[in-house]
Symmetry: C2
């Protein structure tokens, strides 16, 4: 704050007061070696006198063209980044790479469509990481519109023209199902994530094939590849779409009301699996003695479930890391990457009950 004018002091004010040019004043702060000692001291003194805080990053940024920050955008509220375990693990990976490269992180979010658009359009960042969950398409469209390099984090996005880092859903699902067939299971059920528009309950393969969400589809594909390889008739494996926790309960109620309930449940997410675990416990159905359950994702809470959940673990941190790396290295030139997953053996699976 300049004591005389009451306005914030600028570089030109300092230069004027020190009797040097703007260029020299700028050099004092950015390339002090170029400036003679005596002049440098004079400029610094002038700066101190009028209370100049050093070059304003806004000005610097404008001419540098770089902001030195990546934006992370999502359609969820901001708090999501700090609450959701999946998001958090991803952010940790992102943080690590940003830290290592001295890059800042800007969180961009908004519940409403307009706000999100505005948020992405006005974010001061060099690139965007898109946290694609519900509204992947909108997010991607906005990011394209902004004409900034971006990388989508994950997931069921099917469009090959989008730079993205995710996992090989099919392979992961195969892992889960193979584990169960090896244990000897023959009667399966799939509790799936959403395939598309509002819907829940038993679905047929037509809906699966036509899924908006490629992850959900690919995981079914993976499951069925492994089941078929074990000689199981996948046509008879029921698939329930369970977008909400209640849908999980309903699906299980239907499954276990039938004559031949499954001995193995393939849950497409840990959330679904854990909800299933709760339901089975309430109903007194022993896991894994009577029924085995395999989740997907590998969220930390799975370890504390009762019993601890066997699941397919996504390398979530690694996804975050790679996404930033791609953003940095390749400036968003299209590049897709699928990371490998592994099976996390815990205690929710066992051979089927005898007989």
């Amino acid at each position: 704050m300049n004591r005389i004018t009451g306005k914030a002091a600028r570089l030109v004010d300092v230069a004027e007061r020190a009797g040097v040019s703007k260029a020299t004043a700028s050099n004092v702060f950015n390339r002090p070696g170029l400036v003679r000692d005596e002049v440098r001291a004079r400029v610094l003194a002038a700066a101190a006198e009028i209370g100049y805080a050093g070059p304003d990053p806004r000005g610097r940024m404008l001419s540098a063209g770089k902001v030195n920050a990546v934006g992370v955008a999502t359609a969820e509220p901001l708090a999501y980044f700090f609450e959701d375990p999946y998001a958090r693990a991803m952010m940790v990976g992102i943080s690590e790479v940003c830290d290592a490269n001295g890059i800042g992180i800007s969180l961009v979010s908004a519940a409403s469509e307009d706000e999100l658009a505005w948020g992405i359009r006005s974010a001061l960042v060099d690139g965007l990481l898109l946290f694609c969950l519900e509204d992947a398409d909108r997010l991607i469209a906005e990011a394209r519109e902004r004409r900034l390099p971006f990388v989508a984090l994950d997931l069921g996005d099917t469009d090959e023209t989008v730079p993205a880092v995710g996992i090989d859903d099919t392979a992961g699902a195969r892992l889960a199902a193979e584990h169960l067939t090896r244990l000897g299971h023959r009667r399966f059920a799939v509790l799936a994530m959403e395939f598309g528009e509002e819907n829940s309950g038993l679905v047929d393969m037509a809906r699966v094939q036509a899924a908006d969400y490629a992850s959900s589809r690919d995981r079914v594909t993976g499951y069925f590849q492994a089941l078929a390889a074990a000689g199981i008739d996948t046509g008879k494996v029921p698939i329930y779409e369970t977008p909400a926790p209640e849908a999980v309960d309903a699906a299980l109620a239907a499954l276990f009301a039938a004559a031949d309930p499954p001995t193995a449940i393939l849950a497409q997410s840990d959330r679904i699996a854990m909800r299933a675990l709760e339901w089975l416990k309430r109903r007194g159905i022993a896991v894994p003695r009577e029924v085995s359950v395999v989740g997907f994702d590998g969220v930390p809470e799975g370890a504390a479930a009762e019993p601890p959940l066997t699941t397919v673990r996504q390398p979530i941190r690694e996804i975050g890391r790679r996404a930033v790396e791609i953003l940095i290295e390749r400036g968003g030139r299209i590049r897709r990457e699928r990371l490998e997953v592994d099976l996390l053996l815990r205690a929710s699976t066992a051979p089927p009950p005898a007989g």
Copy 2:
């Protein structure tokens, strides 16, 4: 990207191509109502032709003077924001207010001193929230240097000239100690956080009074106010400084090797309390039958401790909320606020053993 020049299209390029002035082109994007339909269409068409992505936020920001984002700065690595439960709760509070006001969050961090300084100096934000843990002074000094409004989140900062939101440590500590005196305890020990420079083990009141960290000191003060009120000779209550987990173990070893071990332990943080709980369990000392333990902070993990930890709960989210509100409302004009804490009764406290 302009197809001809290969450079990104600018507003002036659009204006030129559409045959209008820069001002009109700007209006098309910001105040479309001011522009005649026909002209607006022409400008939009020109923009589309040369691939103009809309006004660059950098330019807007420079003239607007506002960035519409707050920075959150800490001396920890970035991942800290997503891993530490205390930080996360704070960030959730911050997020809520930012969301409600359409403000973005920029994470500023750096382990090294230089990087932190650079980070704070070059952050594109309208104000700073300082996550004061280890290096509160440095953080505050840098923020002052930057001459941007800021609010410290915290904690033991003692300087009245710093705008800050924290809790009433003395009152909180009083709450904890009163709870124990009411239960009938007479023999106490304090496991304290750091008071200052590297040190650990038994300390005297002189060190407490001279503490660099006001929280640690104030909590002792609060404890002793309540103990004195119950007629206990505070001069005989041992205070152990336990900056590291091992120091907690050492302190307990000393306490329980003595003739008259305490029946109540006042831990200045939940981390310390939980470490104490572990030690007591290992040593086969029953909590709360033989010894009661009260923590401080109210971190979520306390609920899962064995036994669940009775503690003084800080309104962490609320602290975050208030800090942003103060930043927004008062633009950082100095203002300190102490929020109230409450006692969270769980299962780690009980009356002292009969004998």
